[in-house]
């Protein structure tokens, strides 16, 4: 490990942190929304570009102190998170401009949350896991409760803060017990050393706490209670960020934990995770059926989606290459379609007092606002897993992975859940294509930056669904380079 390689590997983190400071100083010197936004975009684009020199120097991955291990896998997730942040910033611009009194700090929080999420994919130590997780969470509390004038965000922010804080405490307590039992906080050395009965008990109790906290962050049943309220109350664009980057980051770090330690060699822990996944798939889909609010519906659907994704988590212990490949493809697809859905809600709420998120609000949307509505159609089809969309490729990967790992029950539930899912996703589409009532409000000034970004996401969902080969090749190459 020489210094230059290490520095190159860390380049994205350095660039992003520096950019964060620049934006902060910029806000101190002069408050201009457009300047703050532009600096944020420059920072994010520079971070994206800074992955290139590092990637060539990386080889099979390099350790940065004992806390991080930067390799191809962390880079691909980094790129995914930064791209999600870029789309969030682009779509958020109009929304922030017209709704918030203090606009500039929003981007600081966005950059800080992105920085935290970049730490997660390369974390190999409990300290880096905790730091990454908390930088994301604490920035998100403020982002959720950011709008001052309306009631929903404060409620959502308080609920998110208390419950997320409790889950962090559970993760911390679990880590403490695991450390007590194993004497190490590095992922690769976490295992009960003593062989004594008491050490084993504390190891198991520790994992019970740890996994409940993680399930909380991923909103898996029975720790999902916060999800619909926070999704509904938070500004749509922040909800999109929570649903993608925050959950993706937690999922990736847990995957690395499972891969490097031998947690899943414990039958009890595997069974518990299996059970949580199975219940999430069923409960998420069933509760989504009766939702009248688009954001709540997407919240329950995200519970089911995270349940599906646990298949990849269970596979990663025995077959890391397939597990990671599946997770990358699935998360990439999930990111694109989820951001598209929340982006559409943000865009169509432009110039209206409240967010247009109920099923009634989107009635006949296709006739009033064709581009956002068409994107939402594509996104809903993709979330349902209809062929020729990215969602189908993603689900197909999970299906194949489940068969590879011989998890027949979970694969069965995945199919069943997708079948139920089609019903409520189609309800969105039916609502949008129904005959419009009343006048067309064509006088509304559109948020063209937002519509552009949303349309790109929609096209990406379709494009990657029709021709996924480049993405799949890239991912396979990366996984091979990372040396599994």
């Amino acid at each position: 490990m020489n210094t230059q390689t290490t520095l190159l590997a860390c380049l994205p983190y350095i660039v992003l942190s520096a950019g964060l400071l620049v934006v902060m100083l910029g806000v101190c010197i002069r408050r201009t929304h457009f300047v703050a936004w532009s600096l944020t975009m420059v920072t994010l684009l520079a971070t994206l570009a800074s992955h290139l020199p590092g990637y060539e120097a990386l080889g099979g991955g390099t350790g940065v102190t004992m806390l991080f291990h930067v390799d191809g896998i962390s880079y691909v997730f980094n790129v995914l998170f930064v791209l999600a942040a870029i789309f969030t910033a682009v779509i958020a611009y109009q929304y922030v401009d017209e709704r918030f009194r203090f606009r500039e700090e929003f981007y600081l929080l966005l950059l800080a949350a992105t920085l935290g999420s970049l730490m997660l994919p390369s974390a190999t130590h409990f300290v880096s896991l905790l730091l990454g997780l908390e930088i994301v969470s604490i920035s998100l509390y403020a982002m959720v409760a950011y709008p001052e004038k309306v009631r929903g965000p404060l409620e959502a922010g308080l609920k998110y803060m208390i419950l997320s804080g409790a889950s962090t405490s559970a993760i911390l307590f679990g880590m403490a017990l695991i450390y007590a039992a194993s004497g190490s906080m590095e992922f690769s050395q976490v295992s009960p050393v003593s062989g004594s009965a008491e050490g084993d008990i504390f190891y198991l109790i520790g994992h019970a706490f740890f996994w409940s906290g993680i399930a909380f962050k991923l909103s898996l049943v029975p720790f999902h209670i916060w999800t619909p309220d926070v999704y509904q109350g938070a500004p749509s664009i922040v909800t999109g960020f929570i649903a993608t980057v925050s959950k993706g980051g937690v999922f990736v770090v847990v995957m690395r934990y499972v891969m490097e330690s031998d947690v899943l060699s414990s039958e009890a822990i595997t069974q518990a995770i299996f059970l949580i996944a199975a219940i999430s798939m069923i409960v998420g889909n069933l509760l989504a059926l009766q939702q009248k609010d688009l954001k709540r519906l997407l919240a329950y659907s995200s519970i089911a989606h995270m349940g599906y994704l646990v298949i990849a988590l269970l596979l990663v212990a025995t077959q890391p290459a397939i597990g990671f490949e599946t997770a990358i493809v699935y998360l990439a697809g999930y990111f694109v379609m989820t951001l598209a859905a929340f982006g559409v809600i943000t865009v169509i709420s432009h110039r209206s007092d409240s967010e247009m998120a109920s099923i009634d609000d989107i009635n006949g949307l296709l006739w009033r606002r064709p581009i956002p509505a068409a994107t939402l159609v594509v996104s809903a089809l993709s979330l349902a897993g209809i062929p020729l969309t990215m969602g189908f490729i993603a689900k197909f990967y999970l299906f194949a992975a489940g068969i590879e790992g011989e998890m027949w029950t979970l694969v069965g539930l995945l199919v069943l859940g997708s079948a139920i899912g089609i019903f409520y996703y189609l309800r969105i589409i039916f609502a949008m294509t129904s005959k419009p009532e009343g006048q067309l409000d064509a006088t509304q000034r559109e948020s063209w930056t937002g519509i552009g970004a949303v349309a790109v996401l929609g096209v990406a969902t379709l494009g990657l669904g029709i021709y996924p080969t480049p993405l799949v090749d890239l991912v396979q190459n990366l996984v091979r380079v990372s040396g599994f």
């Binding site: 409990f126 300290v127 905790l130 730091l131 908390e134 604490i138 509390y141 403020a142 409760a145 001052e148 009631r151 929903g152 404060l154 409620e155 959502a156 922010g157 308080l158 609920k159 803060m161 208390i162 804080g165 409790a166 962090t168 405490s169 559970a170 911390l172 307590f173 880590m175 403490a176 017990l177 450390y179 007590a180 004497g183 190490s184 906080m185 008491e198 504390f202 109790i205 619909p228 309220d229 509904q232 109350g233 009766q290 939702q291 709540r296």
Partner: protein, 106 residues
């Protein structure tokens, strides 16, 4: 003293911490005042910190105490944001009762 003659065994510290943690959980569940909920959260984090310190001493490593520092910093950051929200709550609703804002269900 965790190690050596007459020391407190690690298990006792852990059971103590588990009790502390559960008191925190119960506090979050039954208290309706936001300030008390935050106190309960703090209690849960500090329960973890106690175990880290004890386990670090047990294994003869500094890691446990390093982790304690991180927990302190983290709890401070969390409380800073949380109190901001509490100020918002008391300004807008003239109460610290968490149920006052709760209207989303389903």
């Amino acid at each position: 003293m965790i190690d050596g003659a007459g020391a407190i065994p690690l298990e006792h510290v852990i059971w103590f911490a588990i009790t502390l943690f559960l008191i925190g959980v119960v506090g979050i569940l039954i208290r309706r005042n936001v300030i008390f909920i935050l106190l309960s959260l703090e209690l849960m984090m500090n329960a973890a910190a106690v175990v880290f310190i004890a386990a670090g001493a047990f294994h003869d490593q500094a890691d446990g105490q390093v982790m304690f520092m991180f927990i302190l910093a983290l709890a401070a950051a969390e409380v800073a944001v949380a109190l901001g929200l509490v100020v918002q709550l008391s300004r807008r609703f003239k109460t610290l009762d968490i149920d006052a804002v709760s209207e989303m269900t389903g």
